[in-house]
Symmetry: C2
């Protein structure tokens, strides 16, 4: 009889813990995401984030940084990642995106036609792994620098995804899950995705018409 | 007696209208500001916004645009304007800032040392009118492109304040009055304002030490 009471108590406690965890998860999900990141930052080790379980002994500091917080947000993607980036040459950020792609998260990339082949660009590496990249073809820069995670979190700001920007420049990134903001940027992504569809490329853009 | 009743009625109606206007103003102030602007836009007439009361007959379209919405936000400043801009060469945006300055709104500007003297830069025009401008002096770009209005509204994004960005590039601007976001960007502004104080300039920055 006493043993039954103990079992009942244990089961009750387990149930209570599960319920509390559920409440905590719900609260975390409902708490609005508002994060501002500022750069430059000193380069810190990103290996442990990119290789979970690894205990890295490299000489870089193993402290938190704005870059790590950005990477942690990216690596939190579960169902989709949209990237709309003027320049993308940061190796740790490219490794984070490739990791998501290998995990099966659908990744789409829009970039600028002039800068995608610049020295150090990671766009080729993404394409080689099978990530679909579309690019501008008209004059003027595709100058956006934003990402949308799981269609619910927007990452936007002044920062191009380059090591110069991360380690040297004064830059900002705003992270928000505000519905109105996320929707507006997703719509802009879809507009450009359609516009830059290679099946509709015009190989004689304006200004070159006369040479046709 | 009848005339008294009419006057009473009129006074009552006026009081009711005033009360309703107060409620409307309060509701407008409490409604969260979340606006996303996308560029490029076709150039539209900005004269009527910059010269209230003017009926402009110029050949430009007199329609609304993302540029006008941005200018309207700026011109709504009543108590302060902080600008933290990598490049600033757009004449209509500079005119809006000068208008605020002439109205007595305190304006502070932070910019990049390399680009402030570039062709078409409006920084000289702002300084000539008495607006205090501070600039970076270290290597690396002061690459921010944000503004804070009345310490309550943040304007941030990918867009430099140039005509190329407004009329040709793909760009975004996010406008929000989210308290956490505004505070974070204001703190970054104050950090840079102190750091770029000319009384603490180091005229032999790193890299030039050896030539001392």
């Amino acid at each position: 009889m006493a043993r039954l009471a103990v079992w009942r108590g244990l089961l009750g406690a387990a149930g209570l813990l599960l319920a509390l965890e559920g409440v905590f998860r719900y609260w975390r999900r409902r708490r609005p995401v508002r994060e501002a990141l500022f750069f430059p930052v000193q380069l810190t080790c990103t290996e442990e984030l990119l290789s979970p379980g690894l205990r890295c002994c490299c000489p870089l500091p193993h402290t938190d940084s704005a870059l790590l917080r950005l990477m942690r947000r990216l690596l939190g993607a579960r169902s989709s990642l949209e990237l709309c980036l003027f320049t993308f040459s940061s190796p740790p950020l490219a490794r984070a995106v490739l990791l998501l792609h290998r995990r099966g998260v659908p990744v789409r990339v829009i970039t600028d036609s002039d800068y995608m082949a610049a020295s150090g660009s990671q766009i080729g590496a993404l394409r080689r792994e099978g990530i679909v990249v579309r690019h501008s073809q008209t004059s003027g820069f595709m100058h956006h620098k934003f990402a949308v995670i799981d269609k619910t979190i927007l990452i936007t700001g002044s920062m191009n995804w380059t090591m110069q920007a991360i380690q040297v420049n004064r830059e900002n990134i705003l992270i928000t899950d505000d519905r109105a903001c996320v929707t507006a940027y997703l719509e802009e992504f879809e507009r450009l995705w359609e516009e830059y569809d290679p099946s509709t490329y015009d190989f004689f853009p304006e200004g070159l018409e006369a040479t046709k």
